[in-house]
């Protein structure tokens, strides 16, 4: 059965109309578009999570013969209930770019030469052995991704941490989610949201903290808009540093100066206490108060170290700390009027309103990312608005498996699939499940992502294998790290689906299977694990990232740890991995259950998913007889933190007088390697641009579409101006989407990070502008 060209074009025409409808009519569903007959046969539909963002929309992939030809929202998936965004509706086209990598390539005499993939795998294994012998196990590294499937990340961790014995495993989720993790760990002692997307249908108030959900999580934003339309009393407040489509659709848009969300959050807490809107019963039973170190630095220097030193404080000491954050004082710091701060506090403080806070990169890519996560939790903890339907502080993810693969499998230098390398009991568990000697697992973490690329530049790391990510676009202060990767005695392996600036620096390129060309699982923002089958074959010699790692592991002599056959390995890996989470706090669904359903939430206990954690009505892990039990902490109590406002690492001055803020647009996903190969999406936004306030543009003498040079202390980029476009920065700020590799905006950004999470801040550095 093969689909002919004509029926393929008709399918594309229908898909285009459905995508257009989705952007014009929020919430529209075409779930009855079940099958299409064409002269060559029937399209069959198979479930998968969308390939792109962390929302985890379920899609049905239409297959004719060996080709995916259509996509529609999966009505059985509770995440999106049949909806899709414009990217989701075109996701299958990302499989079929003309320049897909089909064969392995090896650099010989300065040129990339095609070789059989088995030969490339031999070369990788030999180079790893040689590097370990010459410069030690900590000179080889793996850099993966929140787009890794769960099995990809699991076998990477097992090979590097369990077999080779180095903690040199990191993933690009360090760049997008690390502050969310440390926020959870410091406030609750356990990672990942307590709530779920059902909160959207229960909440009366939504506050989006630096989060342009209309473009970054459009399906969830549609659910918010639908809830507001249906229930009338629902309000959406957009709290941000620039005006976006989310601001336009919100009931109120409040702008704050960069980094001052810390002060605003503290001022909200000050007002909640001053007005006695505190839920005292909840606070006394379920929280304790703490402070940590201050003036903690920004990590811009190599070998930067920081360790917090938490101290207990009393409620009175916390209240005294907040006296520096009256609305009137914070108005001067933040630019948010005292009246608006009081209004926000009144919403959170009103016991009759259910409040949900959403955030993503604005709070996480922040030099005090851990702190601002803590402070928003403070608001919900003081008011007792947490872990109940509609009351949720909710950190959203940007990648399809940042939670599933990076946070749950633990593909960060300090992590294991259960716990951390520093704790002996966690190492013992891993050694037993992995069938490796306990001594293999090093108790000392090595390099977080920024430091890993610094180590590559310095020469402490000589071999790095990069899978499913594009760091030669995404690393901040990019010039340093690209120059480091290009040094003569570095060996770079890149597994990817298309040529990118990262494959440009590779010594070996492995052609990877993409999305539904392999079996796998993703884990989304709401603790939902989503399985997908291999639905279509990949082109040429493409191979799943999991299988690439297994092939190399076997060449390194670890056959015993990687014994599975190609027809069974995903199921076997899943069941082995599941042993790490065998407790009511984190139990994962069996493979057979995942295969059947459009996603299953964990903890999965006695055949039931857990919607709201830490609340004994919903969460079987809570202590019997308790109402709430924050069991990540030994005493079952969540921590309220006194965290001060501190400024960004680099602020505008006389020489560099603008803030630079970077981010995304709805049409493109991350560095655009997939979406820029989808014609409809590429034509919609063919190139990046710099958003400038109209008065700043006038002072610069620039009109819409004219070229502007953006210059920082680290680099410069020249691109077209966008004035009064879809986003509008305030005066003194410019915004640049980073999807376009033609304009490497990260040559301009700064590699400062949150000292606790080690996540870089892509939202704040100082630049000056020139008319080009």
């Amino acid at each position: 059965m093969k689909l002919n060209r004509r029926s393929f074009i008709k399918s594309a025409a229908a898909g285009s109309a459905i995508a257009a409808a989705g952007s014009i009519f929020p919430g529209i569903s075409f779930a009855n578009w079940k099958e299409q007959q064409d002269p060559s046969g029937q399209i069959t539909w198979k479930k998968a999570p969308c390939r792109f963002c962390g929302t985890g929309c379920g899609v049905l992939v239409g297959v004719s013969g060996d080709r995916a030809v259509a996509v529609k929202g999966d009505p059985n998936c509770s995440v999106n209930k049949g909806l899709c965004c414009v990217k989701g509706f075109h996701v299958v086209q990302a499989l079929y770019g003309k320049d897909r990598l089909r064969t392995a390539q090896v650099r010989r005499g300065g040129k990339m030469v095609e070789v059989p993939i088995s030969e490339a795998l031999d070369i990788i294994a030999a180079k790893m052995k040689e590097t370990i012998k010459q410069t030690g196990k900590d000179s080889v590294a793996m850099y993966g991704s929140g787009q890794w499937t769960i099995p990809d990340g699991y076998v990477a961790s097992k090979l590097f941490k369990g077999c080779i014995g180095t903690n040199n495993v990191e993933a690009n989720a360090r760049l997008c989610m690390a502050s969310a993790v440390t926020g959870f760990m410091t406030s609750f002692g356990i990672d990942e949201p307590m709530g779920c997307y059902e909160d959207i249908e229960h909440a009366d108030v939504f506050v989006t903290w630096g989060n342009n959900m209309a473009e970054m999580h459009p399906v969830l934003f549609s659910r918010m808009l639908a809830s507001r339309k249906r229930r009338k009393n629902v309000q959406i407040i957009d709290l941000a540093t620039r005006s976006t489509r989310s601001s336009q659709a919100s009931d109120r848009s409040i702008l704050f100066k960069p980094n001052t969300d810390l002060a605003v959050a503290n001022a909200i807490c000050y007002e909640i206490i001053r007005n006695d809107w505190v839920d005292w019963d909840f606070v006394k039973k379920h929280t304790t108060f703490h402070k940590g170190k201050t003036n903690i630095g920004y990590g811009t220097e190599d070998h930067f170290k920081f360790k917090d030193a938490p101290e207990d404080i009393s409620f009175e000491e916390y209240k005294e700390f907040l006296s520096d954050y009256t609305p009137e004082k914070v108005e001067k710091i933040s630019g948010v009027s005292a009246l608006e701060i009081k209004y926000l506090a009144s919403l959170y403080g009103d016991p009759s309103k259910k409040c949900t806070s959403f955030w993503c990169m604005g709070m996480n890519q922040h030099v005090r990312g851990t702190w601002i996560n803590n402070l928003v939790y403070n608001i919900h903890l003081l008011t007792g608005k947490i872990s109940t339907p509609g009351n949720s502080p909710f950190s959203l993810t940007g990648q399809p498996s940042a939670c599933g693969t990076v946070r749950e499998v633990g593909t960060l230098t300090h992590k294991l699939p259960h716990g951390v390398v520093m704790k002996e009991e966690h190492r013992k568990m891993a050694a037993e499940i992995w069938d490796v000697p306990l001594a293999n697992i090093d108790p000392k973490p090595t390099y977080h992502t920024v430091e890993m690329f610094r180590a590559l530049d310095r020469g402490d790391i000589r071999f790095i294998w990069i899978q499913v990510t594009n760091p030669m676009i995404t690393m901040p202060n990019l010039n340093r790290y690209r120059n480091g990767a290009l040094k003569d005695d570095r060996f770079i392996v890149v597994s990817d689906v298309y040529p990118t600036p990262t494959t440009d620096v590779a010594d070996v390129i492995l052609p990877a299977a993409m999305w539904v060309e392999q079996e796998g699982m993703f884990g989304n923002s709401e603790r939902r694990t989503q399985h997908f089958d291999r639905i279509v074959p990949g082109p040429g010699e493409t191979m799943s990232d999991t299988w690439q790692i297994i092939e190399v592991a076997r060449r390194l002599g670890y056959e015993k740890q990687f014994p599975w056959g190609e027809d069974e390995y995903i199921g076997k890996i899943w069941e082995e991995y599941r042993r790490f989470h065998d407790s009511p706090k984190h139990n994962m669904a069996p493979y057979t259950v995942l295969k059947k359903r459009s996603g299953v939430q964990w903890p999965f206990v006695d055949g039931k998913e857990t919607r709201w954690r830490f609340n004994s009505k919903y969460d079987p892990a809570c202590k019997p007889g308790s109402d709430f039990d924050f069991y990540g902490k030994k005493d079952g109590k969540a921590w309220i933190w006194a965290r001060p406002y501190e400024p960004a690492a680099e602020s505008p001055d006389e020489e560099y007088d603008f803030w630079l803020n970077t981010g995304r647009v709805i049409e493109h996903w991350h560095t655009g390697t997939m979406t820029r190969r989808v014609p409809v999406l590429h034509r919609a936004v063919p190139e990046s641009y710099v958003e400038i306030h109209p008065e700043d543009a006038m002072n610069l003498g620039v009109t819409n579409g004219e070229m502007v040079k953006i210059i920082s202390r680290r680099g410069e980029v020249t691109m077209k101006a966008s004035i009064n476009g879809r986003g509008n920065p305030p005066r003194g700020m410019v915004f640049v989407p980073f999807f376009d590799e033609t304009y490497k905006i990260n040559e301009v950004t700064l590699d400062a990070f949150c000292p606790i999470s080690k996540q870089p801040d892509y939202k704040k550095c100082a630049v000056r502008l020139e008319k080009a």
């Binding site: 060209r5 004509r6 074009i9 008709k10 594309a12 025409a13 229908a14 285009s16 109309a17 459905i18 995508a19 257009a20 409808a21 014009i24 009519f25 919430g27 529209i28 569903s29 075409f30 779930a31 009855n32 578009w33 049949g82």
Partner: protein, 76 residues
């Protein structure tokens, strides 16, 4: 051999009639939305002359309020 797609809106209360009218026309395939009064129409005509005639017919359809093209391809 043009292939085009449109978003079609019915007159008030005429969603069912519009779907029926379009489904019974030559060269037309429809995908109605299941929660809003919007229809996706895909037309597949043998040549531009037939396409123009079809568009005129659509313009005069009493159950149709408006239609806007989202995709066009002149297959050869």
């Amino acid at each position: 051999m043009p292939i085009l797609s449109y978003l079609v809106l019915p007159q008030d209360g005429a969603m069912d009639q519009l779907c029926s009218d379009l489904a019974n026309m030559d060269y037309c395939e429809i995908i109605p939305a299941d929660n809003q009064e919007v229809v996706v129409l895909v037309t597949d005509t043998p040549d531009e002359k037939v396409e123009k005639t079809l568009q005129e017919t659509l313009k005069n359809l009493p159950s149709l309020q408006s239609f806007s093209m989202t995709y066009g391809h002149n297959a050869v």
